[in-house]
């Protein structure tokens, strides 16, 4: 298990939105940014789970909770407007995501839409709201999209998820170019298999978990591994890093 890293003040004075902060990777990212002094706006579906995340956010300059189901795309602009009332926003980390494990024949349009809505469209709406001239920090900002190793490799039953994560990487790249003149950096992070409530809910058997673990030379990841990388990609000092996708997967996609 890795030790917690602590760089006090790296995010001091920085207001950062984290979606999907109720659990898993989003929670771990919130906790890491809190350790480094961020002012946090945490978005999630479940108030109790968000409260649990907040309780772990020691070191934060402030933590506000915004309960929202990001599948309700129309509600996102008002959510970000409410966040902006607490101060202009430096960072957006779109970590909310849903998985879907189904064969192509069962990947009906409504099921596919459900994945794209949260994984991609919600991120787009958050990005549109975050980059508004009355919302974005005056000296620029930084976005991080959580993609996946499945943006780069495939697996049976993962068509909708692979599409959504490939779209995430593409979105980050296109936004990085368009928003560079406004000093908004945009990057994506492609983790390999991490044990989280989302992946736990993906109906994998114990044998399948063991098989996936065997495919990762450094083993299955932890949410904290992703959080350290996320903090690096969101770091205000990384002023030249944009349009990058970081594969963080214990060597999974090397093979």
């Amino acid at each position: 298990m890795t030790q917690a890293t602590f760089q006090p003040g790296r995010f001091a004075g920085r207001h950062v939105i984290v979606s999907g902060a109720s659990s898993g990777i989003g929670r771990a990212i919130a906790v890491q940014l809190a350790r480094e002094g961020a002012q946090l706006a945490l978005i999630g579906r479940n108030r109790d789970a968000l409260e649990a995340t907040k309780a772990n956010c020691q070191g934060a300059a402030g933590v506000e909770l915004f309960v929202a189901d990001l599948a309700d795309i129309g509600a996102i602009p008002d959510c970000v407007a409410a966040i902006k009332e607490r101060g202009r926003v430096y960072g957006l980390c779109h970590s909310a995501g849903v998985s879907l494990t189904l064969p192509l024949a069962a990947t009906k349009p409504d099921r596919f839409h459900a994945v794209m809505n949260v994984n991609v469209l919600a991120g787009m709406e958050l990005a549109r709201a975050f980059t508004r001239r009355d919302t974005l920090a005056e000296d620029g900002g930084c976005m991080l999209w959580l993609a996946s190793a499945y943006a780069h490799v495939a697996a049976p039953g993962q068509i909708a998820y692979c599409i959504s994560k490939s779209a995430t990487v593409g979105a980050a790249r296109a936004m990085a170019l368009e928003l560079a003149p406004r000093r908004v950096r945009v990057n994506s992070l492609s983790p390999g298999m991490v044990r989280t409530p989302m992946t736990e809910a993906a109906s994998l058997t114990a044998e399948q978990w063991a098989q996936i673990g065997a495919q990762h030379p450094l083993g299955i990841g932890a949410p904290e591994d992703v959080a350290y990388a996320a903090a690096f990609l969101l770091d205000p000092r990384n002023t030249w890093l944009t349009g990058a996708d970081l594969r963080l997967d214990g060597g999974f996609t090397l093979q």
């Binding site: 494990t101 189904l102 064969p103 069962a106 099921r111 049976p156 039953g157 109906s203 058997t205």
Partner: protein
């Protein structure tokens, strides 16, 4: 929740497993249905969840070995009209 009928269940299974209509009957076993593999099992789990609110773990899904097992599952969950 509206209850389903055995004949609708057979249609649901034929659709989930991409089997020819009418090829699945109440006595059909899992290993007689080519499409009832691991992917087909996931498709069935999705249908059970969406149509009846029945969620199964992967292990519970593995225990369904026949159409009769699916009908019994629906009956236990009060989703099957006789």
């Amino acid at each position: 929740m509206a209850k389903t009928t055995p004949s609708d269940v057979l249609k649901m299974l034929a659709d989930a497993f991409e089997a020819p209509p009418g090829s699945i009957g109440p006595d059909t076993q899992r290993d007689e249905i080519a499409g009832w593999d691991s992917m087909g099992a996931l498709a069935l789990m999705a249908e059970l969840d969406e149509r009846f609110g029945i969620t199964l773990t992967a292990d519970e899904s593995k225990k369904l070995r026949s159409v009769a097992d699916v009908l019994a599952l629906l009956k236990r969950n009060d989703a099957l009209a006789e």
